[in-house]
């Protein structure tokens, strides 16, 4: 951002019109940058106080299970569970303390021999389908699974017409 402004200042071989346009563009860029920086400052100043606990992460938040097979199962499950704090991340991706606690819960349960799908079901019972990134086949989700087939059928139907016409011609 700053190197760009430096660059435009040192650049002399320009018509006055071009230079003016450059300045106005620069000014608007600067406004955006200032806005971004103030937002960022406000954000960093207010959030730590709002959501920072002092406890260390849960034992199995960042520690893998000793058994690689179990860890693989846990990892696969964690990648398909939604972090409820950072809702577009999976709990495997998120550093939110709550995601850490969820990972701890998933790993300890899998270490105890629980089935991954049972753990998913346990969470769905509490948070609804939203907590799972893997859609289940249910009355409300069947269009999700049927739509691709329907579109394929539609495409086949339309293309069939085309081919037929070409053949006839």
């Amino acid at each position: 951002m700053f190197s760009a402004s430096h660059h435009s200042r040192s650049c002399r071989a320009k018509s006055r019109h071009q230079a003016r346009r450059q300045v106005s563009r620069l000014r608007s860029t600067r406004t955006v940058v200032v806005l971004l920086l103030t937002n960022l400052a406000a954000f960093t100043l207010t959030t730590p106080a709002a959501a920072q606990d002092m406890l260390p992460p849960a034992p199995y938040a960042y520690k893998q299970l000793a058994d690689p097979k179990q860890e693989a199962k846990a990892q696969a499950l964690m990648e398909t569970l939604r972090c409820l704090k950072c809702q577009s991340q999976s709990i495997a991706d998120s550093d939110a303390p709550m995601a850490g606690d969820m990972r701890h819960q998933v790993r300890t349960r899998i270490a105890q021999g629980e089935d991954p799908e049972a753990i998913r079901q346990w969470l769905i019972e509490r948070y609804g389908d939203y907590v799972s990134y893997t859609p289940q086949v249910k009355p409300i989700t069947w269009p999700l699974f049927a739509a691709p087939l329907l579109f394929l059928a539609l495409a086949a139907f339309l293309l069939r017409g085309r081919f037929r016409r070409r053949k006839g011609a």
């Binding site: 606990d53 406890l55 849960a58 303390p97 709550m98 606690d101 019972e125 609804g128």
Partner: protein
């Protein structure tokens, strides 16, 4: 193929991309101006409190266990909070007001240190009968709570009857009182 047929076909089809674009634009506008509700409400309303037994989070209040909710008393509030949570501080006067009206409130302190809880209660008041210490968010996950603060209405049989997400504001007090009465 006759002449009018191909003319008719493209005539309508020409508008299809624009139509799709307009539809997409409408979708963006709707998403922008009426964003979806991002609160995750508990799916555990109407179900009994899961079993837990938390150690005390404070030296002058006992810990919290499921059995205490099943003693058949009057409905209680279960407040999920933390000393590090800013809205919990904002909520404190409302909890104090509810406690003053005779509402029994139990707390679950999420990922909190005893000394921090003590400081929090000293500064913002202590409306709680019991406070459990939930260092791994286990109770929070078990009841489908996705943040702090949240407040649950638990009836005399230990059934979760209502969930309030976020801090209880002044204007929410009548609603909370009504939900407590309904859980009677």
């Amino acid at each position: 193929m006759s002449d009018p047929a191909p003319k008719k076909g493209p005539g309508l089809a020409v508008w299809l991309p624009l139509g799709l674009f307009a539809g997409f634009l409408a979708l963006v506008v709707v998403g922008l101006y009426w964003p979806a509700d991002r609160e995750v409400s508990s799916a555990f309303i109407g179900k009994p409190l899961p079993a837990f037994d938390l150690p005390p989070a404070s030296d002058d209040r006992p810990g919290l266990a499921t059995a205490q909710f099943k003693e058949g008393g009057k409905p209680r509030l279960l407040n999920v909070f933390a000393s590090w949570c800013f809205p919990c501080k904002v909520e404190a006067p409302q909890l104090a007001a509810l406690a003053e009206q005779g509402v029994e409130i139990d707390g679950v302190a999420i990922r909190d240190r005893k000394e921090d809880v003590a400081g929090f209660l000293k500064q913002y008041g202590n409306p709680f009968k019991r406070i459990g210490k939930d260092d791994l968010s286990q109770v929070q996950l078990a009841i489908g709570s996705s943040g702090v603060p949240e407040t649950f209405v638990i009836d005399g049989k230990g059934i979760i009857r209502y969930q309030h997400i976020g801090d209880i504001r002044q204007e929410d007090i009548p609603l909370i009182l009504r939900k407590l009465a309904e859980a009677q």
